[in-house]
């Protein structure tokens, strides 16, 4: 599902990631932890093609991210849900419209939008609040809406960057419970967080980072590591667009 091979990223010569390699299989739930500045957000941005790595290879769903043209990136993103720490909800739009936007951009017919938004709101237990605007909701509720928006296109991968960073412990637990449910249904989940307590309780694979390096991979096994051997010229990688979401 996701393969990183010796990824390095520099900002004005300062390394943010150094030779990061790992593999995430389909349906896995992975925590990426580490202190601030460890490179967690940079790593997620690279996986989301918001940043380009300076060295190494990134393969997402069989696609070599380096070979993606800018016009193809939106199609990759439609298969990856992203949950932000600051929710990134549009304050002047209703909850319904915030989620519907994710369907509109992929060209979902109007008739189907209503059904799918209601379905996903039900999944996160927020269907009653669909007519409200985000500022009327608590932080936890807003994050649930952000999760609903990330899920509405039924992505195969869900990335979350410090999703509970702005939430109280109880709301944080709700959000993680949601991630767990989503993962149970087959979605691959990668969560960058420094909420150690939750991470330990969830008992999932933990990749620990510090100063841009992977210092520990909780479930390091041959099937997860990609740290040895020469740089693969082509790991059966394709640049064709295998996504079925283009309208």
């Amino acid at each position: 599902m996701i393969q990183l091979y010796r990824i390095s990223k520099y900002y004005e010569g300062v390394p943010a990631l150094r030779e990061v390699s790992f593999r995430v299989n389909k349906g896995e739930f992975v925590f990426i932890t580490g202190p601030s500045g460890a490179g967690k957000t940079t790593l997620l941005k690279i996986l989301f093609c918001a940043e380009l790595a300076d060295e190494g290879q990134v393969i997402i769903q069989g696609i070599n991210a380096f070979r993606l043209t800018s016009s193809n990136i939106p199609y990759l993103r439609r298969n990856i849900g992203f949950v932000f720490q600051d929710y990134k909800l549009l304050p002047h739009k209703t909850i319904f419209d915030n989620i519907a936007l994710a369907l509109k951009v992929v060209g979902t017919p109007y008739g189907e939008i209503e059904r799918r938004v209601y379905q996903v709101l039900k999944k996160v237990g927020m269907e009653e609040k669909r007519h409200l605007i985000p500022p009327k909701l608590s932080g936890g509720e807003q994050q649930k809406i952000a999760v609903a928006r990330a899920l509405v296109n039924e992505p195969q991968i869900l990335l979350a960057d410090e999703p509970t960073g702005n939430l109280d412990p109880e709301s944080g637990k709700d959000v993680f419970r949601l991630f767990k449910d989503i993962n149970m249904k087959g979605t691959t989940v990668l969560v960058a967080t420094h909420d150690w307590e939750t991470v330990r309780k969830m008992q999932r694979r933990i990749i620990t980072m510090a100063q841009g390096r992977v210092t520990d991979d909780g479930s390091q096994s041959p099937q997860h590591t990609l740290t040895t051997g020469p740089l693969p010229a082509d790991l059966g990688i394709t640049t064709r667009r295998p996504f079925d979401t283009k309208p």
Binding site: F48, A50, S71, P74, Y75, R77, R78, F82, K88, L90, L101, A102, K104, V105, V106, G107, P109, Y110, R149, N153, T245, P247
Partner: protein
């Protein structure tokens, strides 16, 4: 493009127009001023051209014949002239008929020609010109061609008047084109600025759309339509103001300015072109801003 996507673009464009209503109103006002100037020039141009056409219908040319031509030679010249492109009608005027006409024109002052003895006027053909030939260049070519016929002494027409009108029409055309280009660039600039403001006010939404997989075209669409609508509204307003000014103009002014058939307003096809042209300029302005913003 799927229907619902176009519907989404239009709905979003209207939302954008409403959201920045004051800025957009200012833009529409400024565009309408620019388009008003373009429209005014076109109005003058069309009326001068109409006047030229009317004058062209009345324009006559005198082809003077050399003395001593036989009837057979005159008949040959007559048929050649009638077949000439640009000649609508030709009539023969003998020197005797010409003198009679001349005397009529001198009514009361016949004494001026009493001492001449022999009739000094030549035989001639009076030619009516097709209005499409009513410009100095084409007329001059026609004159040269006819003057080269055997047996032709001279050819004359109201050269000075035609030259003045043709020059004025050229001045209007070139000046108007230069002005239209200049104003077109200004319109693109105005639209580009209005759309840029709309883009900044919706920057958060655009960023989010990029994160959730919106293509460049999907983001561009509403802003292009917004730019197009702004320019079309401005152009339509300009036409409206021009029409109001035209039809509210006092009759005395119209009579003073008008040619024999009166003044005409812009033809519907030209009005359509002005509004569509405005739309294209709006599209260009919107395209420039959106591309700069997304790059």
């Amino acid at each position: 493009m799927k229907g619902y996507r176009l519907f989404y673009f239009i709905a979003e464009a209207f939302r954008g127009l409403r959201a920045n209503s004051i800025v957009n109103l200012l833009a529409v006002g400024t565009i309408s001023m620019a388009m008003l100037i373009v429209g005014f020039f076109l109005l003058v141009f069309f009326n001068v051209q109409n006047a030229m056409n009317s004058l062209g219908d009345q324009l006559e040319m005198s082809v003077y014949l050399k003395d001593g031509l036989t009837n057979h030679e005159k008949d040959y010249l007559f048929s050649r002239l009638k077949a000439e492109a640009g000649v609508r009608k030709a009539t023969y005027l003998s020197k005797a008929e010409a003198l009679t006409l001349f005397k009529k024109e001198l009514k009361g002052q016949e004494t001026l020609i009493q001492g001449l003895g022999e009739n000094p006027l030549p035989d001639s053909f009076e030619i009516s010109i097709d209005h499409r030939y009513a410009n100095s260049q084409r007329l001059e070519t026609l004159v040269k061609k006819i003057a080269a016929y055997p047996g032709i002494e001279d050819v004359s027409y109201g050269k000075q008047g035609v030259e003045i009108l043709t020059g004025f029409l050229k001045l209007l055309m070139y000046g108007g084109t230069a002005l239209a280009v200049l104003l077109g660039v200004s319109i693109v600039f105005i639209i580009s600025n209005s759309v840029r403001l709309a883009l900044y006010s919706r920057g958060q939404e655009i960023e989010l759309m990029q994160w959730i997989g919106a293509t460049r075209h999907f983001i561009q669409g509403p802003f292009l339509i917004e730019g197009m609508m702004l320019a079309m509204l401005g152009s339509a307003l300009a036409i409206g103001v021009l029409a109001a000014l035209f039809y509210l103009l006092p009759q005395e002014v119209i009579l003073f300015l008008s040619r024999p058939n009166g003044l005409d307003f812009l033809p519907p096809a030209v009005i359509t072109y002005i509004i569509m042209g405005g739309g294209v300029l709006g599209l260009i302005g919107g395209f420039i801003s959106v591309n700069k913003f997304l790059d």
